[in-house]
Symmetry: C2
Subunit: 305 residues, 2 copies
Amino acid sequence: MSADVPARVVLRDVGPRDGLQNEPPVPTAAKVELIEALGGTGLTEIEAVSYVHPRAIPQMADAAEVWATVAPRPEVRYSALVPNLVGARRALEAGFTDIEVVVSASRTHNLRNINRTPEESLAAIAEVIDLAHADGARCQVIVATAFGCPYEGEIPEDQVVGYAVRAVRAGADSICFGDTTGMGSPPRVRRLVGGFRDREPDHELALHLHDTRGTGMANLVAGLELGVERFDASVGGLGGCPYAPGASGNIATEEAVYLLHELGVETGVDLDHLLEVAATAERLVGRELPSRLLKAGPRTRLSPL
Amino acid sequence: MSADVPARVVLRDVGPRDGLQNEPPVPTAAKVELIEALGGTGLTEIEAVSYVHPRAIPQMADAAEVWATVAPRPEVRYSALVPNLVGARRALEAGFTDIEVVVSASRTHNLRNINRTPEESLAAIAEVIDLAHADGARCQVIVATAFGCPYEGEIPEDQVVGYAVRAVRAGADSICFGDTTGMGSPPRVRRLVGGFRDREPDHELALHLHDTRGTGMANLVAGLELGVERFDASVGGLGGCPYAPGASGNIATEEAVYLLHELGVETGVDLDHLLEVAATAERLVGRELPSRLLKAGPRTRLSPL
């Protein structure tokens, strides 16, 4: 292993938001149950909801109700994804102290998603960041399609890094490179993380990895070996790829925890407990989730003789 | 990437044998179809059948008929797994020039599987190797449970390496460390490959990796960075883990090819063609296979605007 491998990483579980957003709708109570269960596993960051328009994403229409019902834990940082100033106001008024906004590095993807160019999105994001800061909250900018676009294909790394740096200049507290449709590979991780570090060596950086093509864990190791300390993952591998029906989405949190612990990297997460929550997530959405570890159990779970 | 990463690796598809052995039985014609289809993808090694007793593994009862029906390609090396001298004679008489034998590094696992200690297995293996060599054939020794045992748990690396070195002394042309139940992780790959290379720096070495716990691709990269040039994989991720019902088994060949190509490592395999064969494999066994890439397609397959 590289000498840069951190001794400890922070995993943010995005299952309640990014995961459930790509599943058939579940009841409000199920979302609350999932968020509260995840908070008991040792995870210190949970992406809880998004304040998006219910016409755009009906799965998140009850965000306010979910968040009003959850009993938050003091040791967990909960975040909300917001699409714009209106959503940001709602999130901040609901008490969130961590919000996330998205800009796609692919012009085509950004235009199709929100009918804005990435430049127009970045201008709006600057206002969201100012609003968050005025409220004493933190704002992370997620650069989506950072590893490739389902429409355009390759997105040059300097274009991706360029948008990330502009977000930093606009005040983003954290940058997250999102592998929206699972097009990442270890060399792309190295070029992207390296390119950003060259420009912003000390800025907080996270990776949001998907396992749509089986490269998720190899990408995680590549990021880790570059010293990346923050990764998104989704309990059970909850969620899917919106561009490939039936395909996997986020890396599974328990698989990330298992691999990190095998690598000697601390996460603070109780793996057995998290596996129970993954089983709960599977029950809540009523379908078999893609996590392999959920089926097999950790290597310490031996067969009876 | 480490400077040791080879420019090209050999993938052996073990789907027709190791894969189908862990699926409900399929007709002889389906096995022939799969073997012949794999031979057209650019793969140069295929584990075709095993000559085991039909009471032990009914899925392979028609091995002789399968192999008599397949039209072999001159550019492909086909191998057969054999459990003992009787099986080895059958394989060699059928014309195989590559055979494989197995010894488990776990005493408990070996005793439960074939009622022999690993030492007794190694003595028998020496006779199989001699028989193969007398026939001008090659013999690979697969050291199973090399990364851990479903009954014993940890198997000390020096014990695993010790059996591998004894197999080399007995004339094994190639050693393959088998992650029988998917307990491998990158540090274990490094300790095992490093330990073997310390004793046998120039001997042919292969890794047989499973993805039962989501670590398969990270383990592949770890092996690659140590210069390992031979990996087993199974088209579609065909097969499962016999110790965890419903769990994944072998790494999927197309996911290995995809990742290797992304890493700039040649395989000689036509990925699109292999994905077609993976779809065929899925049809032949009549269940959804675990390969993620099979569902999503390669990153070059873009969405329509």
